[in-house]
């Protein structure tokens, strides 16, 4: 037997998974609304990442948004990583993909933080 609270927790988790991690649309939600919300959430996160790592925003210019959305689609932020560490992880992903060069000082900072 699950409690009402556990049932709600499961429904909220299902919604967040649909919005951020490619999960199936939960019953009763309009798919166009889910898609709009996904965009709202990714754009909001994108602005925060750009604020925390202006060097990445500057290096990528117009490509920042699309690259971040690609990153976020397969790496949604979890509650186990802080916002700044998540922004740094995006930076590391960009370096790995060759989208931005690998500056030694930033890599050192990244290593110290992780």
């Amino acid at each position: 037997m699950t409690s009402p609270r556990e049932r709600l927790a499961a429904r909220q988790a299902e919604l967040l998974k649909a919005l951020l991690a490619g999960g199936d649309a939960p019953a009763g939600f309009a798919t166009d609304r889910l898609r709009i919300e996904t965009n709202v959430l990714r754009n909001k996160r994108s602005r925060l990442v750009a604020f925390l790592r202006p060097d990445l925003a500057e290096a990528l210019g117009d490509r920042f948004g699309a690259l971040f959305r690609e990153y976020a689609a397969s790496n949604p932020k979890t509650d186990a990583i802080r916002a700044r560490a998540y922004a740094d992880a995006f930076g590391a992903w960009l370096v790995e993909r060759g989208e931005v060069p690998k500056p030694r000082s930033r890599f050192g900072r990244w290593l110290r933080r992780n």
Binding site: L8, L15, V40
Partner: protein, 271 residues
């Protein structure tokens, strides 16, 4: 428990690091609200402490407690809010009717809760636990949503009335969010204003936004729309709000533009 309000606040603005010098010299700023998660107890910004020491009310506003979330409340976040509230000497603290974490994911933005008895019970439990930790009256704000849960058992105003009746909490009514919901969800903001328990109003929020691809975005980065000011006037026809706060979070305009927006808010709520 019935919470006293913060008393008469007047016209205020959301304090942001990028605006700190502007706020200190802007005419017509009676009080400020500050995002609690951007502060660290023991290390409050000098410019913010200067406002507090001038006797200006500085009210913390949280965005990450996830009070509508059904997972166990993260009381460490509430403790942090309580500490910041103490240090600011604030007469109240607040967050939103929403959830931001579930199943290990972090939305980073306010998501609506189902307006069901079940979700109300969870919210009430979380708010009561929060009230037991934060030593001042606690308020909750209505959010802007672009989606709704199926099977709502209450209107938004009924849901908020139940919440205030059961917890004694106060309300922050955001008229820009009412406008956003009317545009995006087709809700009726005047009905909300007719049904809300005004005796619980702590203050009201106003902000700018923009429409993109048929969706209104509550950006806090654009000028306040005339339609939102009209809703503030509609609110004023029903009650005299103890405070009105302008939220601006990005694309900061010159001081003169902020001063003009603050003056427009003052005009909209003047008797």
């Amino acid at each position: 428990m019935v919470a006293d309000g913060p008393g008469r606040l007047g016209i205020g603005i959301g304090w942001r690091h990028e605006l700190d010098l502007s706020i200190a010299r802007l005419p017509g700023v009676d009080w400020v609200e500050v995002v609690a998660e951007n502060l660290h107890a023991g290390h409050l910004p000098e410019t913010l402490l200067a406002l507090r020491d001038r006797g200006m009310p500085v009210l913390p506003h949280a965005v990450s407690l996830s009070l509508g979330g059904a997972e166990p409340l993260d009381t460490a976040r509430v403790e942090q809010l309580a500490e910041v509230t103490r240090e600011l000497g604030a007469p109240m603290a607040s967050d939103h009717v929403c959830f931001v974490r579930a199943g290990g994911l972090d939305s980073g933005h306010l998501l609506p809760v189902p307006r069901t008895r079940e979700a109300l019970d969870v919210l009430v439990d979380n708010v009561e636990l929060t009230q037991s930790i934060v030593e001042v009256p606690f308020a909750l704000e209505n959010i802007a949503a672009v989606l709704e849960w199926p099977d709502a058992e209450f209107t938004e105003a009924e849901f908020l009335r139940e919440l205030t009746d059961r917890t004694g909490c106060l309300l922050i009514v955001d008229v820009a969010n009412l406008y956003a919901n009317a545009r995006n969800l087709g809700t009726d903001p005047e009905r909300f204003l007719d049904e809300i328990p005004w005796e619980r109003l702590a203050y009201t929020h106003v902000a700018g936004g923009v429409e993109r691809d048929g969706v209104y975005h509550d950006t806090h980065a654009h000028p306040v729309l005339p339609e939102v000011l009209d809703l503030l006037r509609e609110l004023r026809r029903r009650t005299e709000p103890p405070g009105v706060l302008l939220e601006r979070d990005d694309d900061y305009p010159p001081d003169s533009e902020l001063a003009a927006e603050l003056a427009a808010l003052r005009e909209a709520v003047s008797p």
